[in-house]
Amino acid sequence: LKRPVHEKITTLLETEHENIKNLIFEAVRLAHTRRLPAEALAIKLHQQLGNIIRVAEHDN
């Protein structure tokens, strides 16, 4: 099925950074598949943040 909301999100995020795109799509995906409350969803996202967001390498 085509998802008008998803198409809309994709269009809206076209100019955004890859990190933000990934983060929003992952959050929407988790909200849909896991049916978690917001607090639990935030915890889940926090756990996965390192994998979703590519943080630039810092000097030691």
Binding site: L1, K2, P37, L41, H58
Partner: protein
């Protein structure tokens, strides 16, 4: 998706194996409507249940959940029994092996032929309780070239994912237009519920949820940032640099000492080699020194003994009287034995002692001594009285002799010691002479001594350097330990700094995401509302007659997802006043949900419609039938007695009616599926109308 066939075995009312082939399976087939006609309770909902059970494993429908008939969609518990109860009773009366039930659905989706199979078994226990359990699951996919792929129970999750990708389980309910659901849409008392439902079905709920989650996440990251110590580690870097210098300095000093120790060790080795060469001489020199020390010791010892001897000399003089006293003692003894002891003898002796003032033992007799007083008493006393004291004198003389014997032994011991020392002295002197003779073969003792001195000096020097080296090693170990500590601390700090920067960056991404989400929520909800509103109004235009809708302006979906009907002046219309429009608006909304959910005006999923004429006029009913046929790829109409001949005629005239099935109740527990030719609809519907009239007459 086009459903081709559904096959049932002992599922709900459908005893034994029965099947329905749906119209519209051929892409070119314009006859895409299947009518399933049956009285209420003959199993129309059972067919929907069979479809959802097969595709999603769900045993309950939304209506069951609302009426609390089951605890959970995936678990069959209170009141919902899927296995045919007639078959269960039959089994219970027989050998009670259990009853097998299954649903097999064949469908086409995006050029692939699917066959989904899900089986369960049930048994009726002695107490009448029915126990059911899932048995098997299989999805077979065949492509256009005949290539077959099959997934079974181990691929349960894959199957779930595949089915959900075709029709999401969350929105499947919106392709089933049942009476309750449609009525709910326009019920003012259920507005909040409908709003939540709209958000959920259009997946806007997930966006709201994600937005809130991001706000929580941003706060979490801020908290984490405040908990990471971000103090400057430059001080630690300076300290590390100082300790590093210290380590280098100590290492240098240690190396310098090691360098100094090298020649010393070599020289010592050289001297030790020489020492080995003159080992005998060194041993002799050592012995010479030892013997000389020994001789000196003997001289000292002899001198001490001679001093003792000199002190013994007065006592030695007394020893001269020992023989005389022995004679006197013997004489007295003899005479005492013979009884000839005379007092005169004693008087003479006492007189002699008193005149010489010296005892027979040589000891001086002093005037103030007790002995002198006693001697005077004896000399002046009568001779008889004195005779009694001869025994005492005899005893005294004996004791004196015993005393002198002891002294004599002391004298002999002293003399023996002197003799022993003289002997040893003589031996040592002889050995010294021999050593000197033997040493004459070797270099001069001075040379050897100098060699020894040099070696001793080197040993001392080596010990000193080694001591310094050890101290430096300790300092170096301490400094290195400190350096390690500092390095570890610095690494920890660096990690913390890295984590701080990482979290800072994550926070900035999440903060930006929160901002973006606001736009996403606003835009998406706006887009969804616009799309929904557009589809509702479009549907309404198609379903309602122009004359009927002239007073109605527009159906509006508000920002909070409420549905309002406005008049031509843009004023909200009372829903209660809408009469027959209420149901046609509800139908427009229901269809619009399915359209927005599937993302297109033309639906991609078959629509199941529970025919409800309610307040609808015949014209409106006809419009619905015609309109659904134009927007759905396939639709299945569940009709009951209210599906009258005229409705049938209107549907038939659309030219889309492809299949016609009758559900005939054999008993309360058994329904038989019977296919009828579409063309025979008039006969069938008339028969049923007559039946209904007969029933009503009987009831009256």
């Amino acid at each position: 998706m086009i459903i081709s066939k559904i096959e049932l075995l002992n599922f709900r009312q459908f005893y034994g194996k029965q099947e329905i082939s749906f119209a519209g399976k051929d892409d070119n087939d314009c006859q895409l409507t299947t009518v399933i006609y049956g009285k209420d309770g003959t199993g129309k909902a059972g067919l929907c249940r069979a479809l959802f059970f097969c595709l999603y494993g769900e045993k309950c429908l939304d209506t069951d959940l609302e009426s609390n008939d089951c605890d959970n969609r995936a678990t069959n518990n209170r009141g919902i029994c899927l296995v045919n109860t007639f078959a269960l009773k039959e089994d219970a009366l027989g050998d009670r092996k259990g009853v097998e039930a299954y649903v097999r659905v064949s469908f086409i989706h995006r050029g692939l032929n699917y066959e989904m199979f899900r089986a369960l078994s049930g048994i009726q226990e002695n107490d009448g309780k029915i126990v059911e359990q899932m048995e098997d699951l299989k999805l077979t996919m065949t492509d256009g070239r005949g290539k077959v792929r099959t997934w079974g129970l181990p691929e349960k999750e894959k199957i779930k994912h595949e089915i959900n990708a075709m029709l999401d389980s969350h929105i499947k309910g919106y392709f089933f237009f049942d009476k309750k659901q449609i009525e709910k849409l326009m019920d003012p008392a259920r507005k909040p519920e409908v709003r939540a439902l709209i958000k959920k079905i259009l997946r806007v709920e997930e966006i709201y949820l994600a937005e809130e989650a991001f706000r929580i996440l941003e706060k979490k990251l801020l908290d984490e940032l405040s908990n990471i110590p971000s103090d400057d580690c430059d001080k630690m870097v300076d300290e590390r640099s100082t300790v590093q210098k210290l380590v280098a300095d100590l290492t240098e000093q240690k190396d310098s000492i090691e360098k100094k120790l090298v020649p010393i060790r070599m020289e010592l080795q050289h001297l030790d080699a020489k020492r080995d060469e003159f080992k005998e001489a060194f041993d002799l020199v050592g012995e010479l020194k030892a013997k000389e020390d020994c001789r000196q010791g003997l001289i000292e010892k002899k001198r001490e003994i001679m001093q003792d001897f000199q002190q013994f000399m007065p006592t030695a003089v007394q020893l001269l009287t020992r023989d005389l006293l022995a004679e006197i003692y013997q004489d007295i003894d003899d005479k005492m034995e013979k009884g000839q002891a005379t007092p005169e003898i004693k008087k003479e002796l006492i007189g002699k002692i008193l005149s010489e003032m010296t005892c027979i033992c040589g000891r001086e007799v002093t005037l103030d001594s007790k002995e002198y007083t006693r001697l005077l008493q004896w000399a002046e006393g009568p001779g008889e009285a004195l005779s009694y004291d001869v025994v005492d004198a005899f005893t005294y003389i004996g004791n004196t002799i015993h005393f002198l014997n002891g002294k004599l032994e002391d004298l002999f011991r002293l003399l023996q010691q002197i003799s022993d020392i003289d002997t040893e002295y003589s031996l040592v002197t002889n050995r010294l002479g021999q050593i000197k003779l033997e040493l004459a073969k070797f270099p001069a003792t001075e040379v050897l001594n100098s060699l020894g001195d040099e070696r001793n000096h080197l040993i001392e020097q080596k010990a000193e350097y080694e001591d310094r080296n050890n101290r430096l090693s300790d300092d170096l170990a301490m400094a290195e330990f400190k350096l390690l500590e500092l390095e570890s601390g610095q690494k920890k700090k660096a990690k913390e700094r890295f984590r701080y920067k990482e979290v800072q960056e994550m926070h900035s991404v999440v903060a930006r995401t929160c901002e973006v989400m606001k736009t996403v929520v606003a835009e998406c909800s706006g887009a969804v509302i616009t799309a929904l509103e557009q589809e509702i109004n479009n549907n309404f235009q198609n379903l309602a007659f122009p004359d009927s809708r002239k007073n109605l302006g527009k159906i509006v979906v508000t920002a909070d997802y409420s549905i309002q009907v406005h008049d031509s002046q843009g004023r909200p219309f009372s829903v209660e006043a809408l009469n027959e429009f209420r149901e046609i608006i509800a139908m427009s909304v229901a269809i619009a949900f399915a359209q927005v959910a599937s993302g297109d005006h033309i639906l991609t999923i078959p629509v199941f419609v529970d025919f409800l004429p309610g307040l609808l006029t015949k014209e409106h009913q006809g419009n619905i039938l015609k309109y659904l046929a134009s927007i759905a790829p396939q639709w299945i109409l569940f009709a009951n007695n209210s599906f009258k001949l005229d409705a049938g005629e209107r549907l038939f005239r659309t030219g889309r009616w492809g299949k016609f099935y009758l559900l005939e109740a054999v008993s309360e527990e058994v329904t038989r599926i019977k296919q009828a030719p579409v063309e025979a609809y008039q006969t069938v519907l008339c028969e049923h109308c007559e039946e209904l009239d007969h029933d009503n007459e009987q009831r009256l």
